[in-house]
């Protein structure tokens, strides 16, 4: 029975195999869930880097997106390890990597990088930033809600100017520590792939850096999208100065990212190691639509030229918003394709360098499309809950209300 099942399962895949591949390469072991993992972590790191621009580099124009970026990073980092846990199975055992750390395992050490980033950077920065608001909300609430906010503020009470000034200072210090931490987080994800020396598609010292910059690109694009969707929902007007600045940063980082990808490409072609023929065949056949069309053309060149066009010509605000919005969506499609091309692409060719296989995605099941879509939606639900609980625009809304009342 087992044999028959295996044969039934493998036969359709065999039709797709070209050239010679080893038997254990017919079916891919890392599927869609492993694609989602670097995609989500990238969004976390990118959103955090954007938030750090406000606090460390004093980019005042981006202030409206500061708290949104931080909460986005938190919402996505909570979900980021779930695809891995779902893929590996036995999520109830995952805490064991903290109990008995294995320093020889890059993957096990990722648990500590993740924990450091979540606990020592994100939660701490959010706590300092929201502390005054939490105390005020606790004071304004009653019953369970009061105790809930009190607990979140760790029973802090001091909202004197001196204490608030200390909060600001602490946020700045944590952000300064946070930038290398965010670089470490996503650079590490790239490192996990880049250090697999048996796989020439992954094994490159540039991979962690390319991952990092593509992460920043995707995070900035996500915050643009969220800012443009949430602001009208709050009955507020999108701040065009902020949006233009966001688009500028997206543009500059995309140029760096694209240059690095081209550098990686040229490096591979110039080195022309023994794998170059199968990699060329991989790009020309199996990955043509997802790499050349989706990643490079739709996800990189079109948004780059669109934003460049907006910056060059005098474009009315409404059209500008539309173009930014479309560009940000295309960038998301492009970065998702990047992750796809790395994770799936790296398994489509044989270690014999003589053949290609194919990836067959399932719809149901733990590794299927349905679970993956659910995992991609969950951060948005968490973000919605965080916004409901923490009310990031509370002070701003109160100021507007007070202003309109005085008129």
């Amino acid at each position: 029975m087992i044999m028959e099942e295996i044969v039934q399962h493998l036969t359709p895949l065999l039709d797709e195999v070209t050239g010679y591949i080893f038997p254990n390469e017919i079916e891919l072991h890392w599927g869609l869930l492993v694609v989602i993992y670097p995609y989500l972590t990238g969004l976390v790191a990118g959103a955090f880097i954007l938030a750090s621009l406000v606090k460390v580099f004093n980019v005042k124009e981006l202030q409206p997106t500061y708290r949104l970026s931080l909460l986005t990073a938190l919402a996505f980092i909570i979900i980021a390890p779930l695809p891995l846990l779902a893929h590996l199975g036995h999520p109830e055992k995952s805490f064991e990597i903290f109990l008995t750390p294995n320093v020889n395992s890059a993957m096990a050490m990722f648990g500590f990088v993740y924990a450091w980033y979540l606990m020592a950077v994100l939660l701490l920065e959010l706590w300092f930033d929201f502390r005054k608001d939490l105390i005020l909300m606790a004071n304004e609430s009653r019953g369970i809600k009061k105790w809930f906010y009190k607990t979140l503020s760790l029973f802090s009470k001091d909202i004197s100017d001196k204490a608030v000034a200390f909060d600001h200072k602490a946020v700045r210090v944590i952000t300064i520590i946070g930038i290398p931490s965010a670089f470490l987080l996503h650079g590490y994800v790239g490192f996990l792939f880049g250090s697999i020396k048996a796989n020439p598609w992954w094994s490159s010292v540039l991979i962690p850096i390319v991952f990092l910059f593509s992460a920043i690109v995707s995070g900035v694009a996500l915050v643009i999208l969220l800012y443009m969707i949430i602001t009208p929902l709050r009955n507020k007007i999108v701040d065009m100065i902020c949006l233009d600045k966001l688009a500028s940063y997206l543009f500059y980082i995309m140029i760096v990212d694209f240059s690095l990808e081209i550098l990686d490409f040229i490096h591979r072609v110039y080195e022309s190691e023994e794998s170059i023929k199968i990699l060329a065949s991989l790009v020309q056949n199996r990955l043509f639509s997802s790499l050349v069309i989706m990643q490079v053309l739709i996800g990189m060149i079109i948004p780059l030229f669109t934003i460049a066009g907006v910056k060059t010509f005098k474009v009315p605000a409404d059209l500008r918003k539309l173009l930014y919005f479309i560009s940000a969506i295309l960038v998301q499609v492009g970065i998702f394709s990047t992750r796809w091309n790395v994770v799936i692409g790296g398994q489509l060719f044989s270690k014999s360098f003589m053949g290609l296989t194919t990836y067959k995605m399932t719809f149901f099941g733990l590794e299927g499309l349905l679970v993956s879509i659910a995992l991609l939606i969950m951060p948005f639900i968490i973000l919605w809950m965080l916004i409901k609980i923490l009310k990031p625009w509370r002070a701003e809304d109160a100021a507007v209300a007070a202003h309109s009342a005085s008129q």
Binding site: M3, V7, L14, V17, Y20, T100, N104, L154, D158, K162
Partner: protein
Amino acid sequence: MLSIFRNIRGFMMNSWLSKAPEQIKLLVVVVILVISAFLIIRPLLIPDDFGELGHFRTGALNDAVAIEFKYAGRASCVECHDDMTEMLAAGYHKKLSCEVCHGPLAGHIEDSDENEPSFPRERTLCPVCHEYLSSRPTGFPQIVSQSHNSLKSCVTCHEPHDPAPPEVPSECSACHGEISRSKAVSHHMDVECEFCHTTPELHKISPRQYRPDKPQNREFCGQCHTKNASNDTDAPLINLATHETRYDCWQCHYPHLPEAR
């Protein structure tokens, strides 16, 4: 318990912490609580036998040993099915284990009535090895299953325990699929295999024992490709006396697809 809290409070009151902002005091408490909880819980959660032999639980070895056997191995099959295994040992499938086709049989060894082996008749099993693939070695029997008696089960014509073809193959392509497919699209498409390879008849029955020969000298190719060759084809012509005299023809030209470079 109370004394612990008193000590912590005393420490905080008397040290530099008493002058620190409220936030720092609270965070220090939280960090101390988290670290203490971790230090208390950690030894309770780590199994006693962890790390004795390496970075794993020693008991995991016993767990692995306790895993139920699914495969019995060919030696177990021989005990009852010696006729089949003898036939298998003499044929082309002599290196295959019975369970490759019949599935895991440990249960069958325990109780042969309850656990029947599988007898696959689908046309999907044999092509796992015998479907034509350009990278499979030449001489290995390969078919294109869609055009090879597509309505019949493989075992109708082939006895899997002695899988010699039911009749001696009339075409070289039955086994030399890659070569015949390459040749079919080359300028040598009309050249019969036997023109270059003198093939003993027994090669079709014992292919490794009786091998066809190969052209040994430049003059063989020269029959068609020298300037004074008497043929009516448009074959490219060269002067054997001056054309790359240090090499044999096949060192530069692949005879089954001569236009390949």
